[in-house]
């Protein structure tokens, strides 16, 4: 029989309450708990060299407006959507074409990585490029579902849309991605 943990990890809700009460350690813990998932999401959504800064910006904005977090979606998902907006702000500053820069990066990577001759690696790179070229809402829904494994209810809550609309966006995204992969295959 295993003894109960004397100090179970605090829940997100407890850490959020801690931060609202001025506990900086609670904010640090939330960054460490969810930072890599947020970074993976933003990387897949088109962030590149600025990934560290974007993750920082997402959490900074989240903690600044923590009073608006209603808990409909998880804290992690909420931070992802804030990060997505920060990424869009960044792309607007650079100009829309920056969204497509992944393609160049993937080509460069494919020359330097000896393992990416495998079909799986090649497909992954082409998918990365294709995802970056999706319309924003389709990209967000696709990544939250396929990469993060969220259900339509939480996706709809996070993106301020309906479950039906989220399903439609996902359907369109899958169709476009399959077509893109078939074209480049």
């Amino acid at each position: 029989m295993t003894a109960p943990d004397a100090h179970p990890a605090p829940s997100d809700v407890e850490l959020i309450a801690g931060w609202r009460a001025g506990n900086e350690h609670a904010a640090t813990e939330l960054v460490k708990r969810h930072g890599h998932a947020v970074a993976r999401y933003l990387s897949a959504a088109g962030a590149d060299a600025d990934l560290d800064d974007l993750v920082q910006e997402a959490f900074f904005r989240a903690f600044r407006k923590i009073a608006t977090f209603k808990g409909g979606a998880s804290f992690r998902t909420w931070v992802m959507t804030i990060g997505r907006n920060a990424l869009r702000d960044l792309h607007r500053k650079r100009g829309h074409r920056a969204m497509l820069s992944l393609e160049d990066r993937d080509i460069a990577d494919s020359r330097s990585d000896p393992h990416n001759e495998t079909i799986g690696r090649d497909l992954e790179e082409r998918l990365h490029t294709a995802v970056a070229q999706l319309p924003p809402m389709q990209r967000d829904v696709f990544l939250l579902r396929a990469q993060q494994g969220l259900g339509y209810t939480e996706i709809a809550e996070a993106l301020d849309t309906s479950e039906g609309a989220a399903r439609v966006h996902y359907h369109h995204a899958v169709r476009r991605l399959k077509a893109a992969l078939e074209e480049t295959g």
């Binding site: 900086e24 904010a27 640090t28 960054v31 930072g35 890599h36 998932a37 947020v38 970074a39 993976r40 999401y41 933003l42 990387s43 897949a44 962030a47 990934l51 560290d52 993750v55 920082q56 959490f59 900074f60 904005r61 903690f63 600044r64 407006k65 997505r84 907006n85 869009r88 702000d89 829309h96 799986g120 497909l123 992954e124 082409r126 998918l127 995802v131 319309p135 924003p136 809402m137 696709f142 990544l143 579902r145 396929a146 990469q147 993106l159 301020d160 849309t161 309906s162 039906g164 609309a165 439609v168 966006h169 359907h171 369109h172 899958v174 991605l177 399959k178 992969l181 078939e182 295959g185």
Partner: protein, 133 residues
């Protein structure tokens, strides 16, 4: 030609961003976030106010021609109808993306107030197809 099914797509998608995302130094990120919070730095004002401005712009310019469901409400097959329903659905950032990606030339003659909840899946697909060109 690559033949890929939806499950393969989802498995591939689950790995997207892993190499870059897992390299982020979270100790450093957390330290910088806390430092900015401690300094009293505020989120730039435009992040709080611009969705309202974008919504106003969208209400004035976003038009959807040729959509049967809106025609029924709009009162005629040649009607050009402002797609007010999306204003309830999209966030400010999403509205900005819509405005950035669309190039409407049709004159706006009528405004319809509705929500996307009034539309079935087929209608949503048609509307999305129109919006995406």
């Amino acid at each position: 030609m690559t033949d890929i099914d939806e499950q393969q797509l989802e498995r591939l998608a689950a790995r997207l961003g892993a190499s870059g995302g897992n390299d982020v130094d979270l100790d450093r990120v957390a330290e910088q976030v806390v430092s900015r919070l401690r300094s009293g730095e505020k989120v730039p004002a435009h992040h709080r106010v611009w969705p309202w401005l974008v919504a106003m712009a969208a209400a004035a310019t976003l038009a959807v021609p040729g959509y049967q469901w809106l025609h029924e409400i709009g009162g005629g097959p040649s009607a050009r109808v402002v797609a007010a329903p999306v204003l309830d659905l999209l966030t400010g950032a999403e509205l900005a993306e819509v405005l950035d990606s669309l190039d409407f030339s049709a004159p706006v003659t009528e405004v319809v107030t509705a929500t996307l909840d009034d539309m079935n899946e087929q209608q949503l697909e048609e509307l999305l197809a129109i919006m995406e060109g």
